[in-house]
Structures are given as C-alpha cells and as structure tokens.
C-alpha cells in the first residue's frame, strides 16, 4: 500500500438478516484481508456455542451481538482490491439501531443495499433507500442475496429488480448495478458465478472498483468555517477546515455574517513540508489576515462574490433519532459545521413514512426513526448552503439535551410572502420589544404588555390585511380564521362591513380606513391575530393603514394567491 492509493468508504445496508455481515465477511475472506487466526477463532466460538459457522461473527466482535444475533453498532473494516483500498462499514438493519446505520452511512461515499431474494423487499430495505437519498449518497449497487435459496432464478431476480428500481427512482436514487449473489456461498462475489450464467453484469468486487470517488470539492465556492482562533504566540491564527474551494495567500475574503472583507496574509504551518501558498478543500489549515477583526468560531470565510446563504428560517428534510419525539415549538441546539445555535421547529410540514413514502401533513411531532420535512427557525443568523449545492455546508444535526438526536439537510430558504428578503428580516426582528398602546398609566404595579399576552397565547399578534377581489377576501378571511384556529391560534376575522355599519357611520371619505386600522391596532395589542377583509382599497390608503399598524405587524396577503400551511404557521409566529 502506498500513499498514492485511493480509499473508498462504502456502507452496506439492508433489512436485518438479509446478509450484510455475511457479505462483508465474505469480501474480507475473498480478498485475503482477514488476520491469521480470525477464521479459526470464529470457528472455535461457534463450536463452543454449538452453532454453525457464520461469517457475521467475524464482525460482530461483541458478546451481546453474538447472543442476540444482530449487529449492534457500526464497525469499520478495511480491505483491499488491486485497484484500491476500501473502508467498509457494517450498517445494521435492525430498526432500533437506525442511528448506528446513519452514523456509518453518513460517512460513506457509496453504498451496497442488500435484499434477501427469498424474503423480498422489506420495510427496512425501503427505509434505508430513503436515508441514502437523504444523505446524498448517489452511488448505490443493489445486491439481491441468497440466490441459492431461490434456485438462482432469473425471473425472481428480475421481479425484485423491477419493483425496487421503481421505488428508488421516485427518490432519485439510481443504482449502478443490480447483482444477484449468494454471499454465503460466494457466488458472484469475486468472479461471475457459473450458477447464474444468465447474469451478464459485474460480480461485486468488480462493481465496487467501478464506483468512483467524489471529486471537484476544490472547484466549488470557498467555504471555510472558522473552527477556532489561536494566539499561542504573536501570530493570531484563524484555524479551520476548508469544506470546499481553495484559498491562496493574497486572496480577498469575506467573513459572514457581518460582511467584513480582508486579505489572506499567510498560511501557517509547523513543519517546512506543510508550508504552502495555497490550500484546498479537505485541508485543516491556519491562516492570518491583514485586518484583524474580532473573529470567532462559527463564522464563514468565503469569496466576496460567492457568500453562503444567511437566514434564521429555512426548510429542511430530517431524520429523527431521539429518545423523545421531535416537537413543534420545542427548543433544540442546531450544529451546522462549526456553528451552534438555539433553534426551534417552526413548523412540521409533513412526516414521511420512509418505507411507503406516504406522507402525513397533519402532525405536531416526529417520532424516532421518522423522516420529516420541517421548517427550522434559529435564534441567530446561520450561514449555510442548499444541500444540493454543497453537501457539507448544507447539513446539520439537532441536539436534544445531551445527545445528537437527528440530522437533516437544508432544502432551501423559507419565504412565506412575496417579498422574501423583507419577510426574513421581519422575522429576524421578532424579538424586538413592541411599543405598548398608550392607555391610562397604572398607579400601582407593572402594566401588562403585549409581549406577555403573546407569550400566554403562544403566538405573535398580527394584522393580516387581505387584498384582491372582495369575494376572494371574504372567502379567505373565513377559511384563514378556521385554519389558524385549528392550529390552536387566536385569530379573529374583522368584518369591514360590520364596523362600517355599526361604528363608522359618521366617517366621511377615506377616513374610515384609518379608523379601521386603529381598531385593528387595539386588537393587535391584545395579542390577537386580526384578519381584515377591507374590500377594495387604493394603494396609498393601504400604505396609510400599514403605517398606522406598523410594518412589522402588518401582513399584506393576496387573497387570490394560494396559501400553504407552512405560510400560515409563519404568520402566527410564536413570540418568545
């Protein structure tokens, strides 16, 4: 083995008992990667226990595992072909241990998914397929195992292949090969099996050598999340790992959030061999810069022209592994590269049954091993990229209590209304104290303020001012009130006509708009979500109402545009 050789990390996944450990044991055996005595040791253990020989015992080094006959944790084992080195990760199929499967699979560059030909496609086969797509593992080979149990039947193989391919393609996972094998007997592992002459594809080992490593991380936009800043001597070294891109001395860089720019002064190294003028993706580096700001862990270094996204609200797909259910409005710690912020699950858009791909849109919680689409709201601005643009800066974990309890990928910024940028800052300002409506000053005690009422109601008071045709406005107002009510929010649809008829009869001209706004504003102070169908109003009148109510509390919604549940939930943002 020389320094020049490639290592490819692969994960083996599939339903429990479909033959993952057996396959790995067999690969180790066939590539002569087992230490001397390992087979003998396993034979001895099996004999002592009165069991027949199992390749799986080579991997299941733990006592308990052998007793229960399931693989508890991920092992990483190395083997070599002529082409390259492999680190192979044994991912267990038992549902309870999905967290171990993910721990293994998350580091993999390629996957082998095993299906028992005799038992056929099972729930975990599908769930694992789904998780591979979530982890962004694009290179997958599917092995149809235990062909010996179905007489090496091509018809049955073809059937499983068609069915599973159908499922995977909906996930945008496209396996390179489907290979019929018998892991236990070594058929189609190193060489083409004589028992399955009908199969014209590659045996497993050759198929592995045909997988390729992801390249091109260095060509992507620069992302250097700051890990730490050191001042051991007179140098002030910014340390971190380049997730993508490359960096040279003299480069102009942008530091986000904050948006300061500076220039790379030096790239530091301890030994001469490491002294370089340029570094690239994957390297753990230390740099000094010409302008010394106060830098800290979690900030992102990028090129000025190509900064990461920044937001407090974003959409994500996640898999939940926690002991306790993931709950809406609950606080978690979000870790994304070197950033750590408090966050909450702003909305659960749907929970997907990973096996059937059925989804349930009406849920408040995500249970262990479930996959869900959510909207996350962070306390501070975080820097990231869409997972589809940049895997390492587009994924995060959630910590519940002491444990990492879930992992997710970012699928985009979350924007509710038509002015995305404004919306995001609007919500960024959610913590701004709200000016109270002037009332008679209390003589004793602390006057109750809107924020307190909002906290009680677990919502943020808003005036939703509907526009569009009168008919659409009234329809929307009624349905919106109901939808918010169902979301356990306090909302009230204020009918213009009632107000006009009963209170504003004396008002002349356009003055009624201001009056209406005043009334809405008082209701707003109670913490209520006020839905206003004002009928047709001129633009300048609308702006007047906006000014009276305050632009942060005033949400203009086009009643004729289709709304979503997520949008609603955002509108009724909980005040903290």
């Amino acid at each position: 083995m020389t320094d020049k050789r490639d290592t490819l990390k692969i994960v083996v996944v599939g339903h429990v008992d479909h033959g993952k450990s057996t396959l790995i044991g067999r690969l180790l055996y066939d590539t002569e990667s087992l230490p001397e005595g390992a087979i003998a040791k396993v034979k001895r253990i099996c004999k002592e226990k009165g069991k027949s020989f199992e390749y799986a015992y080579l991997l299941d080094a733990f006592e308990e595992e052998q007793k229960q006959g399931i693989t508890i944790d991920t092992t990483q084992i190395q083997f070599f072909t002529q082409q390259r080195d492999y680190v192979i990760i044994d991912a267990p199929g038992h549902k309870e241990f999905l967290k171990n499967m993910i721990s293994g699979a998350a580091n993999a560059e390629a996957a082998l998914l095993i299906i028992d030909a005799h038992e056929g496609i099972q729930e975990q086969s599908k769930r694992h397929g789904y998780i591979l797509s979530l982890l962004g593992i694009k290179q997958v080979d599917v092995l149809v195992n235990k062909m010996d149990l179905i007489d090496y039947s091509q018809a049955k193989f073809d059937q499983i292949k068609a069915e599973f391919n159908n499922f995977l393609s909906t996930l945008n996972v496209h396996p390179q090969q489907y290979i019929p094998v018998s892991a236990f007997l070594g058929e189609n592992i190193t060489t083409n099996s004589a028992k399955m002459a009908w199969y014209t594809g590659e045996p497993v080992l050759r198929a592995l050598d045909m997988l390729h490593k992801e390249r091109g991380l260095a060509e992507k936009p620069l992302r250097l999340p700051i890990q730490d800043v050191y001042k051991f001597d007179d140098r002030r070294i910014i340390a971190g790992r380049l997730e993508t891109g490359c960096l040279s001395v003299g480069d102009k860089i942008l530091i986000s959030p904050g948006g300061k720019t500076t220039t790379v002064k030096t790239i530091e190294a301890w030994v001469d061999r490491d002294k370089q003028a340029a570094v690239e993706a994957g390297q753990s580096v230390g740099i000094t810069v010409t302008d010394e700001f106060f830098n800290q862990r979690g900030e992102y270094i990028s090129r000025v022209a190509n900064p990461p996204l920044q937001a407090k609200l974003f959409k994500a797909s996640l898999v939940w592994l926690g002991k306790h259910d993931l709950l809406q409005n609950q606080k978690y710690k979000l870790k994304l590269t070197t950033q750590e912020v408090e966050c909450e699950i702003y909305a659960i858009e749907k929970v997907v049954d990973a096996a059937s791909l059925d989804s349930n849109a009406n849920v408040q919680r995500v249970k262990i091993n479930d996959v869900a689409e959510v909207i996350i709201k962070t306390k501070q601005v975080v820097c990231f990229d869409d997972f589809s643009d940049n895997q390492s800066t587009g994924r995060f974990v959630l910590v519940d209590g002491y444990d990492v309890s879930g992992g997710g990928i970012i699928t985009g910024l979350y924007t509710a209304a038509k002015t995305p940028a404004a919306e995001n800052t609007e919500f960024a300002d959610a913590h701004k104290p709200v000016a109270p409506i002037a009332r008679l000053a209390a003589t004793a005690g602390k006057p109750l303020v809107r924020l307190e009422r909002e906290q009680r109601l677990r919502q943020k008071g808003r005036v939703i001012w509907l526009t569009g045709s009168e008919e659409a406005q009234f329809n929307r107002a009624v349905s919106l009130e109901r939808e918010l009510f169902d979301l356990e929010k306090q909302a009230y649809y204020l009918d213009r006509q009632t107000i006009l008829d009963q209170f504003l009869r004396e008002s002349t001209g356009d003055d009624w708009i201001a009056k209406l706004a005043d009334i809405a504003k008082i209701l707003l102070d109670t913490g209520l979500i006020v839905i206003l169908a004002s009928g047709t109003v001129e633009r300048d009148q609308l702006e007047k109402a906006r000014a009276i109510i305050g632009k942060h509390d005033f949400l203009e919604i086009d009643a004729e545009a289709a709304g979503e549940v997520g949008e609603l939930t955002q509108l009724t943002d909980v005040a903290v």
Partner: protein, 266 residues
C-alpha cells in the same frame, strides 16, 4: 488530496474540536508509535504548541527503555507531563501474577480513572485505532464515559458529519479518538513521510522487534529482521498476524478487551 493528507486533516480537525470544547483536556501518552504520531499531529494542529498536558499511566512494569525515552523526549520538547501510578494497588502488591486482566484493570484502568478525578478532566485524548481489535472498531470519535469510567457501548449516540458529542453531564468525561480512522500501515507510512523520531524498540535487534508496546511481563516481541521503517512496512504488508498478537492480556479470553474497555480501559 492524498490518503495520508486526508487522515492527517481529519485528525487535526478532531484535536481542534476537542481543544475548543473541553475546558480541561489531557492527552494520554504511552510512548508507543500511535501516541508519538498523536503528539506530532497536536503540534501541527496548534502550530508547535501542544496546549494540553500529556498523561502517562505508569504501571511500573513498562519496558525500561520506554521510561528513559519518555523522560528524554519530555525534557527536549518542554512538554507538560503528568505521570500517574495506582499507588494503593502497587502498595498492595498488584502485578501480573495476580492475573493479567486483574492487573490491567488495577494499574491501567483504575490509575487512569484516578487521574481523571484528580485533575477533573473533561476530555481525554487517546490514540486508539479501529483496526486494532473488535471492541475498538466500534468506538465513536467522541465517546462518553460515566463517572465510573464505564462505557455504554450498546447505546452509543449517533455520530455523523463530524458533529461530535460535546454535551454531557458534569462528572462524565469524553474520550477523544483522533486516530480512530487510521490503520497500522497508515501510522508507519506517516512516520516515514514525516520523519517522526520514534523509540527504537520497534526496530529489530537480534532477530526480534516489538510490534506493539506495553508492560514487559505481558508484551512479547515478534520474530523480525526489520531494522528500518521500509522493512517494517514491507513486513506488515505481508503478514496476516494481528497487531496485538504479542499483547497477552488480549488472549486471556475471547472477550478480554471488550470487558476491559467497558470498565474504562484505554
């Protein structure tokens, strides 16, 4: 990036995470090749300043050359070194004749736990590798130990995307394993490439050399004529004997290491 560069970058990343996250951090230093590589990597990670103390758990049964080498290197590099022994155990006459596993537990596991308590360590860096033996292959990079140093290996939290376990109740500590993803050959290839000074017990003398270092009563040299790193690499490429075959405590029973490590062994 080449293979060794990738391994190195990952280890440095892990060391920096540990340094950032744990107020009180120490690094176990056994004088062997793995801890020597670890020390080298720490120097790289922190630009020539190893910012935490090294801890040597001294069983008093170490091969004498190891101790001499330890003291010389520590002085040369100006390292902060904590040497700790299980004095109570030693006073009561603990030794391998009481049973290898009993001895390991007392003079290594218990001594280590004493250090953790005495200095209130939140993080301990260790140079273990997955390919060494079965129970180590199941380790996490950041692996929690309870107050009693126990390792609950049946219920380890998930660890992925380099987001490690950094939240834990007070009194527990985290074992940090920056070399987990390296194998024995990687270590040698790296020592050669970086030209890292190494204790000469690893090189053959009179047809014998140590492949793994430990206490003299329980560590046997292997038959070898490898006197250079190249010769060692060549030898390893053609062997199918496991690295720890000369470590007699491992052979006591089929689950020896698993049992030891569950109780807090390194």
């Amino acid at each position: 990036m080449e293979h060794l560069d990738r391994l190195e970058a990952q280890s440095i990343f892990i060391l920096r995470e540990a340094y950032k996250k744990f107020g009180k951090l120490g690094m176990l230093w056994s004088i062997g090749k793995d801890s020597t590589v670890l020390l080298w990597l720490a120097n790289k990670a922190f630009f020539g300043h190893c910012p935490f103390p090294l801890i040597h758990v001294d069983t008093t049964y170490k091969i004498p050359d190891m101790i001499a080498y330890r003291d010389r290197l520590a002085a040369e590099m100006g390292l902060e070194l904590i040497v700790h022994r299980n004095e109570t155990g030693l006073a009561e006459g603990m030794g391998p004749e009481r049973g290898r596993l009993t001895c390991c537990k007392a003079l290594k596991t218990e001594a280590l736990q004493e250090v953790v308590l005495k200095y209130q360590f939140e993080g301990l860096i260790l140079g273990i590798r997955r390919d060494e033996e079965g129970s180590r292959s199941k380790e996490r990079v950041f692996s929690e130990r309870t107050k009693d140093a126990e390792w609950d290996y049946t219920n380890q939290p998930p660890e992925f995307w380099d987001q490690f376990k950094t939240d834990f109740p007070k009194g527990n500590h985290i074992r940090v394993h920056p070399l987990l993803h390296w194998n024995e050959l990687d270590i040698w290839a790296y020592i050669k490439r970086e030209n890292i000074p190494l204790i000469d017990l690893y090189f053959a003398k009179d047809g014998k050399r140590y492949r793994s270092l430990g206490c003299w009563p329980c560590t046997k040299p292997i038959a070898s004529n490898a006197t250079t790193i190249d010769a060692i690499i060549k030898e390893l490429e053609n062997t199918s004997v496991s690295e720890r075959a000369g470590r007699m405590q491992d052979q006591e029973d089929a689950y020896a290491m698993q049992k030891l490590r569950k109780d807090g062994y390194m």
